[in-house]
């Protein structure tokens, strides 16, 4: 009985180490491949289109919704202490430091991370990745690198968009509904913020971009078992990258705010 439990725990540890090692090796190969030739500009532009431009609506809508809900909660909370004026300051702080990068990261892990896993998973089970190998093309270089570069650049840019939309989401509630002065809101929103906060948000988004692309590509690349495997890859990618985004957010916040 005890031996069986130890056996299972040991097998689990070995499996986890194996999985993490596999991810680390593929991630290392992807970063090393960034500097290899040939440089595929067209493929990169396609990724910017699908990762970036096509993601704008979803980022705008979620950022607007979350910042509006947050403003409603803040207005209600601070009203208990007759401190409604603080709502816009806290809104600014929350949007810039947490909501914009995390919401953007989570939404993009659902939108683009899952798409990467599904696309590469389909390519894997239909032997298209083997065909790339046979055409003397490194799949890591051809498939991972453009997605990684696009994600690394686009997630920070969309985070800036999310901050901007967050400002207007708070404005709609605090000025439009709660009746605060637009001039005061405009000043108070940035009152507790420094340039460092924007920098932190961009650093976080940069790391989230790396997580989304690498996890999505890795899950797709390691897809096995036909249609069932292709079906599981996006789900697994979203769950894994969302979890890693939240864990990374905690450590980055602790590290960067010191």
């Amino acid at each position: 009985m005890v031996l069986t439990v130890i056996d299972k725990v040991g097998a689990g540890v070995l499996r986890a180490t194996d999985t993490f090692g596999d991810f680390a090796v593929l991630a290392g190969r992807a970063f090393a491949a960034i500097f290899k030739r040939p440089f595929d500009g067209k493929n990169l532009l396609n990724q910017f289109q699908s990762v970036g431009v096509n993601s704008i609506p979803v980022v705008v809508l979620t950022s607007l919704a979350v910042s509006m809900v947050f403003a409603v909660q803040l207005a209600f909370g601070f009203r208990q202490f007759q401190a409604e004026g603080l709502a816009s300051q806290v809104e600014g702080l929350a949007v810039m430091r947490e909501l914009a990068p995390v919401i953007t990261g989570l939404m993009l892990s659902g939108r683009i991370g899952s798409a990467m896993a599904a696309e590469l998973g389909t390519m894997q089970v239909t032997e298209q990745i083997d065909a790339l190998e046979c055409l003397a093309t490194d799949p890591i270089h051809y498939l991972f690198v453009p997605r990684l570069l696009a994600s690394m650049l686009v997630v920070p840019l969309l985070t800036v968009v999310s901050v901007y939309i967050g400002f207007w989401g708070g404005y709609l509630i605090l000025v439009g509904v709660e009746g605060q002065s637009a001039y005061v809101y405009g000043n108070e929103f940035y009152k507790l913020l420094a340039f460092r906060d924007l920098r932190i948000a961009i650093y976080k988004a940069f790391v989230f971009g790396i997580i989304i692309a690498l996890v999505g590509c890795w899950k797709g690349y390691r897809t096995q078992g036909g249609a069932e495997g292709v079906g599981q890859a996006p789900t697994s990618s979203v769950v894994t990258s969302s979890l890693w985004i939240l864990i990374a957010d905690f450590f980055l916040t602790k590290l960067l705010l010191v």
């Binding site: 032997e127 065909a131 055409l135 003397a136």
Partner: protein, 263 residues
């Protein structure tokens, strides 16, 4: 020296031994056809030749280079001299036929777009598929997909061509078309090839030698005329296409007389 040298090749997946001490040599310009039942290890052998799988023991050498010992860069250099035609074509479904065939040319040759266009048209006309360059793989029939796969494989002017069951799932007429294309490619390009097929008619047309894999072992590798009269019971059963014999591991269902079956 053989262009492709398979030496004591063994490969197992878990407890399932797929290849066991297989030895095969393919000389320059020779066309080898590999026959064998489903699961006899034919595709696994091709994947070992391409370096997509690593042997458990033994090795595969292409032009004297042992595939499993090559670095990634060296392996890619060897692969540029081999064209692989997959069983289900494995076309890039996000690209058009033209982009599929041009893929290797654009990646590995600094050719002008006009030269790429000319080469793609040349390859497509060799497989009888002119005017399909703008279509996506989803718009093609099974036979057309295989032929685009051939065009993609020959675009880089390889010295070796590997065909993995190029006629499986196709109607007899299209099977004959594919057989003729392989024969044309053999005569026009003079390349070394290994073809895996179940279609005996095209196998005897294409082959300079025929090898047979049975339960992971190579039981024959000889000229088609010798293969036809090889007394090995497995080979004779395979050539007859009969269910009764040593070929199947599990006994087949009993044969009923035609009248009984229709009753």
């Amino acid at each position: 020296m053989a262009v492709i040298d398979v030496v004591n090749l063994s490969k197992a997946f878990g407890t399932n031994v797929v290849l066991s001490n297989v030895n095969l040599q393919v000389e320059e310009g020779e066309s080898l056809v590999v026959l064998g039942g489903s699961g006899s290890g034919k595709t696994v052998m091709l994947r070992n030749i391409m370096g997509l799988l690593t042997p458990d023991s033994g090795h595969v050498a292409v032009e004297g280079k042992i595939i499993a010992q090559l670095s990634r860069e060296e392996l890619f250099t060897v692969r540029k001299s081999i064209g692989m035609c997959f069983q289900m074509a494995a076309l890039f479904d996000s690209m058009t036929v033209f982009e599929n065939v041009a893929f290797g040319l654009r990646r590995h040759h600094k050719m002008t777009e006009a030269k790429v266009q000319a080469r793609v048209e040349e390859c497509l006309s060799m497989v009888g598929l002119k005017d399909t360059d703008k279509l996506k793989p989803a718009e093609l029939s099974g036979g057309m997909k295989r032929r685009v796969g051939f065009a993609r494989a020959i675009a880089l002017k390889p010295k070796i061509l590997l065909f993995d069951e190029p006629t499986t799932g196709l109607d007899p007429v299209m099977t004959d078309v594919i057989g003729r294309i392989i024969l044309d490619l053999k005569h026009e390009l003079g390349i070394t090839s290994i073809t895996i097929t179940h279609d005996l008619k095209s196998a005897f047309e294409i082959a300079d030698r025929i090898a047979m894999l049975f339960r992971g072992e190579c039981i024959a590798c000889e000229a088609p005329s010798d293969f036809k009269v090889n007394p090995h019971p497995v080979i004779q059963q395979f050539l007859r296409g009969d269910a009764d014999g040593p070929f199947l591991q599990d006994p087949p269902p009993p044969k009923r007389k035609a009248q009984e079956a229709h009753a």
